[in-house]
């Protein structure tokens, strides 16, 4: 009988521990799952409007590419002008200051 009581006590303890760990692993219910939540009470990232972020992203891409093209074109025209000037100097046979 004493052995039986010990087995029962041990089994109950194991079950209790297992139930505790299973309960801990259950995902926490969000406010939205418990009931309707007004949009003003949503977490900050859910309230954030998407349009300004989207427009900023596309504007940055266009501006970055445009800026880079302008930068390369300007550098290229400066170098090409310098090349033409030097070629003219060489063809004249002297160097201009």
């Amino acid at each position: 009988m004493t052995v039986f009581k010990r087995v029962i006590t041990f089994a109950s303890l194991i079950l209790l521990l297992a139930a505790g760990s299973i309960a801990a692993e259950q995902p926490q219910q969000t406010e939205q799952q418990k009931g309707f939540v007004p949009v003003s009470e949503l977490p900050p990232q859910d309230q954030l409007p998407a349009a300004p972020l989207l427009v900023s992203a596309y504007a940055f891409v266009w501006l970055a590419v445009f800026g880079y093209v302008v930068s390369v074109a300007r550098r290229l025209s400066v170098v090409q002008r310098e090349c033409e000037r030097l070629e003219a100097d060489i063809s004249r046979g002297h160097r201009t200051p």
């Binding site: 900050p44 990232q45 992203a57 290229l76 030097l86 100097d89």
Partner: protein
């Protein structure tokens, strides 16, 4: 410039002008909604960032072992494109993440290794500009490091599971999202080729200028 350059530039311009129309017509993603549409420029830019790093690395290897100035010019041009496309990916990503993840930045493996790859390219350009004589070889070594980082950036999301999507997203896109995506990707590939050619042209002209100065001194 080669004959194909201007027609390709016109096609690229038309594709970029049409891309917002296709992106606007693409369906909203179920959980992220409107902000997910950043993906159509973010992912192609990130792809070109990696391609540019590989081009820079391969050209640097060929320069280190072959000594060809042509390869050095290509590496320098590609390094600038790593910085450009890397900046686009690293700016559009956080703008998307702010809404989708609730944070601007996460120190996860994909984001951190991408930032590192971008900083390597910035270091390459700084070494080339301010490094003085011999900086070409030192910068080529940096480019190798940048190229070695590329596979790590690409596969990292599959091994370290974080909140960044895996590489499985693009192959599983539905047609309604896949068509605008591949259209934008093609536009970015074309843009990459055009910018690379234009930037290489600048280096060619600089080399020509050096030759002209030398011939004047003689």
């Amino acid at each position: 410039m080669p004959k194909w350059f201007m027609p390709a530039a016109v096609i690229c311009g038309i594709m970029f002008a049409l891309s917002p129309v296709l992106i606007a017509r693409a369906p909203y993603e179920s959980t992220m909604g409107l902000v997910q549409k950043i993906f159509y420029y973010h992912m192609p830019a990130a792809g070109m960032f990696l391609v540019a790093a590989v081009v820079c690395g391969i050209a640097s290897v060929r320069y280190l072992f072959g000594g060809s100035p042509r390869q050095d010019r290509l590496a320098w041009a590609a390094a600038e494109l790593v910085v450009l496309f890397g900046a686009i990916a690293l700016v559009t990503g956080p703008l998307w993440a702010r809404k989708a993840w609730g944070v601007w930045w996460q120190w996860d493996v994909r984001l951190t290794s991408s930032l590192m790859g971008w900083m390597v390219a910035v270091a390459y350009l700084l070494v080339r500009k301010y490094g003085g004589p011999g900086s070409d070889k030192l910068a080529a070594g940096l480019a190798l490091f940048g190229m070695a980082n590329v596979p790590f950036i690409y596969i990292s999301v599959n091994y370290w599971r974080t909140i960044h999507p895996t590489t499985n997203v693009v192959p599983t896109l539905p047609t309604s999202m896949g068509v605008p995506f591949w259209f934008c990707f093609t536009a970015f590939v074309l843009l990459f080729v055009l910018l690379l050619r234009l930037r290489v042209r600048l280096e060619e002209q600089r080399s020509r200028l050096d030759v002209l100065y030398l011939s004047l001194d003689e």
